[in-house]
Symmetry: C2
Subunit: 395 residues, 2 copies
C-alpha cells in the first residue's frame, strides 16, 4: 500500500504492556478531510466510542489516534478523563479543534488508559509522522491478530484515479450487529461526509456486519473512513455524482476484503467458512438464518472435525426463528447437495464432500425455497485453539 | 424413585445403534391420565414433536414411547411414516386410540427411524412392562449423557400425599427459547389437563427455559407431564383448587432440579455457573442479559480458565441490546463485588475471588440499578472437552 496523499502516519511505543513493539499510531489528515464512521451498538461502549459518535456529527477530521493493549472500556471517569487528555494532546500538537480528532483503543477491558503513557505516546508518534507506512500502522494497532490485515482498491472518479486503503485489527470478540473491531479506511478521493457515511454504512452491512468469529461483540468496535480529497477529483456529493458508483464499489470491495481477513485470523481458526442462504422470505430473514448457522458451536465444531453434519445445519436453521419449511430445505457442502426437500439425498457421493471438508475454504449452502431472500455470512471453525487462547488470555 | 401408581415402565433394546444397552422405553399410563407438554420452537421439528403437539390438544394419555440413538428429525416422509407406524403399534398393543400415545426420539438427525426395529422395540418393551424402574427408563433414554438424571418431590393436595417424579436426558444442543431436551414428569395426582399445562408452562419458564449449554436448540426438545390421578385426591381443576399451590410448587421444584442436572452434565463442562441479574428494566430484559452472559463463549472460556474476567461480562451485558448504564453497573463473582458503578473496585480482595473460581459452582452476579427486573440462568463453562465431543460426534 503506497502512501495516500493527505495522510501522514507516525507510530511509537507508549508501553501499554511490557513490550517493545509499537502500540500507538497517529495519523495526520490534510485540512478538508471528511470522515464517516460506524460504531459498536454495545450498550457499554468505551469513552473513545462515545467521543467518535459525537465527533462524527461534524463530518470533518484532522487526526486519528489509536492505542493497542488497553481498550479503556468500562473504566469510569478515570478512563473518560484519560481519553479526553489524549484527544487534547493530539489537538494541540496537530493544531486543530479537539472535535476534529478521532480516537480508538483496543485491548484489555477495565483498566483506565494510563494518561502519562497516552500523552507521551502522542508526542512520540507525532515526532515520527511521515516515517511510518500503512503496514507499520497495521502492526501497531494489532493485539491477538496473528497477521497484519490491509486491503486496497482504486476507482476512476470523474476522470481522476483515486485510491482507497483500509487497515483492520481483530480476531476474537467478533460478531455482527455493529461495526466490528477497529477498521480504518483512507482515500485521497474528495467525498462529502454525508455521502461517505451513506456509502460506508451500506458497505458495512455486507462486510463487517456479515462476519462472526464467536458471536461476541466488542465494547470498542469502530470503523472510520477518511477522505482527504487530495486526489483532486470533483467532490462526490450525491449518489448521482459522476464516479460515485465506482467509488462506492471500490469502498465496498475494501470493506469486504478486510472483513474476510478478520475471519481468516479468527482465534483458533483452521477453516474459513462461507455460509450462503437463498430462498428465504426476504434478505433480513436470510441473514438471521445465515448467522444462526455461522454462530452455532455445533456447526462450527463439526466443520473443525471435517464432518458433513448437515443435521446440525438443520438444527441451526430451525432455531433461527425465521420462516422455514423442513420439507423444502436443500443443503449443500461445496458443490454437493447432501439434503434436498427435507431429507438426505439417498445416494449422494461422499468423496467430493470429504475432499471439500478436508480443505481450508468451506462453503455451506442452504436453499429454503420460500422467497427471494439471500444473504452471505463469513465465519470460521471452532477449535481447541479458541479455548486455549481464551481460557488463558488475561493472565 | 419408588413406583408411581398408574405408571408401568418397560425398557428394551431396539438396536438403533450397534450396542446392547436399552434404547427404548415404553410407559403405560392408567386410564384417565391427563397430560401437558412444552415442545421445541424449532422451525424444523421432528415428526415426533409434530405428533405430540397435535395430541396434546386432547389432554389425555395412555402411553409414552421413547427412542434413543435416532432422533428421526429431518427424515422426510420416511421418518413420518416410521413414527406413525410406531404410534400405531403402541396403540394396538396398549389398546387405545393413537391420539393417546405420545412419542419422543433423540439421537442422530437425518436418519429415518428404522421401522422394523421401532415396532419390534414396542413389542419387546411391552413384554417387559412393570419390570423397569424410573432409573432404568432414565438410562434407556440417554445419549451423550454421562449420568442418569431424575428428580422427585411430594405435595399434600387436599389432605392426600401426591408424588412427582421427573426424568430427563440432555447435555448438548441445549439452549432456551423452548422446552429443552427430553424430559418426562409423572405424578399420581389428579390434575385437569388445562391446569397441568398452565403449571408446566410456568415451571418451564424458570427451569428448562432458563438453562443453556451451547446456545444450540434441538429439533426434538420435548417435556411432557403425565398425571395418573391414582393418588385419589380431589382433582385439581383451577389454580384456586385446595392444594394447587403446593402441587405447582412441587412441580416447579422437580423441573428446576432436572434443568440444573442437564447443565451439570453439559458437554465438556467442568463448572456449573449461576448467572443472577438484578436491577434490569423488567424481568424479560433481565433474562435477555443473563442469557447473553451465559451464552458468551468468552465468558464461558474465562470461567473454564478460572479467570475473574469481568471485562467480558461487561461485554456480554453491552451486546445484549437491553437498557444498561455502563456507569451504574455492579459485577460480582461469588460474594465479592469486583466492579461497581462502572469501574473496577480498586482494592477488592482477589483471594476469595480466586478461591470461588477454583471451585465447581460459580456465581456471576450483575446489578444494573435501573429497575426491578430479575432473572437467574444456569449454564456451564466451555472447555476443550466440548470441542473434543462435538468435533468428532457423527463419525
Amino acid at each position: 500500500m503506497a502512501p495516500i496523499a493527505g495522510v501522514r502516519i507516525g507510530t511509537a511505543t507508549a508501553g501499554y504492556k511490557p513490550w517493545t513493539r509499537s502500540d500507538v499510531a497517529l495519523v495526520e489528515l490534510a485540512p478538508g478531510t471528511t470522515v464517516a464512521g460506524v460504531l459498536t451498538r454495545s450498550k457499554c461502549p468505551s469513552p473513545e466510542v462515545d467521543w467518535c459518535r459525537a465527533a462524527l456529527a461534524r463530518g470533518q477530521a484532522r487526526a486519528l489516534m489509536v492505542n493497542a493493549g488497553n481498550s479503556n472500556a468500562f473504566t469510569g471517569s478515570a478512563g473518560r478523563d484519560a481519553s479526553a487528555a489524549q484527544v487534547a494532546a493530539v489537538a494541540a500538537i496537530i493544531g486543530c479543534t479537539p472535535h476534529d480528532v478521532f480516537v480508538a483503543s483496543t485491548g484489555v477491558i477495565g483498566v483506565p488508559l494510563p494518561v502519562t503513557k497516552a500523552t507521551a505516546g502522542v508526542a512520540a508518534a507525532h515526532a515520527a509522522l511521515g516515517q511510518a507506512s500503512f503496514a507499520d500502522a497495521t502492526a501497531a494497532i494489532g493485539t491477538t491478530d496473528t497477521f497484519a490485515k490491509g486491503a486496497t482498491a482504486a476507482a476512476i472518479v470523474g476522470g481522476v484515479r483515486v485510491t482507497i486503503h483500509g487497515i483492520v485489527k481483530g480476531s476474537g470478540m467478533i460478531a455482527p450487529d455493529m461495526a466490528t473491531m477497529l477498521g480504518f479506511i483512507f482515500t485521497d478521493a474528495a467525498v462529502a461526509a454525508p455521502l461517505l457515511q451513506a456509502m460506508l454504512s451500506a458497505a458495512t452491512a455486507s462486510s463487517f456486519n456479515a462476519i462472526t468469529v464467536d458471536s461476541d461483540t466488542s465494547t470498542s468496535d469502530t470503523v472510520l473512513a477518511f477522505a482527504t480529497g487530495a486526489a483532486g477529483n470533483v467532490p462526490l456529493v450525491t449518489v448521482g455524482s459522476p464516479g460515485a458508483d465506482a467509488f462506492a464499489a471500490a469502498l465496498a470491495d475494501v470493506c469486504a476484503k478486510l472483513a474476510k481477513l478478520v475471519v481468516r485470523d479468527g482465534e483458533g481458526a483452521t477453516k474459513f467458512i462461507t455460509v450462503e442462504v437463498a430462498g428465504a422470505e426476504d434478505d433480513r430473514a436470510a441473514k438471521v438464518i445465515a448467522l444462526s448457522i455461522a454462530n452455532s458451536p455445533l456447526v462450527k465444531t463439526a466443520i473443525a472435525g471435517g464432518d458433513a453434519n448437515w443435521g446440525r445445519v438443520v438444527m441451526a436453521v430451525g432455531k433461527a426463528g425465521e420462516a422455514a419449511d423442513r420439507d423444502k430445505l436443500d443443503i449443500r457442502f461445496g458443490a454437493t447437495t447432501v439434503a434436498a426437500s427435507g431429507a438426505v439425498v439417498a445416494d449422494y457421493d461422499e468423496a467430493p464432500v470429504a475432499r471439500h471438508l478436508g480443505g481450508d475454504d468451506i462453503e455451506i449452502g442452504i436453499d429454503l425455497h420460500l422467497g427471494p431472500g439471500r444473504a452471505t455470512v463469513w465465519t470460521c471453525d471452532l477449535t481447541h485453539g479458541y479455548i486455549s487462547i481464551n481460557a488463558d488470555y488475561r493472565s
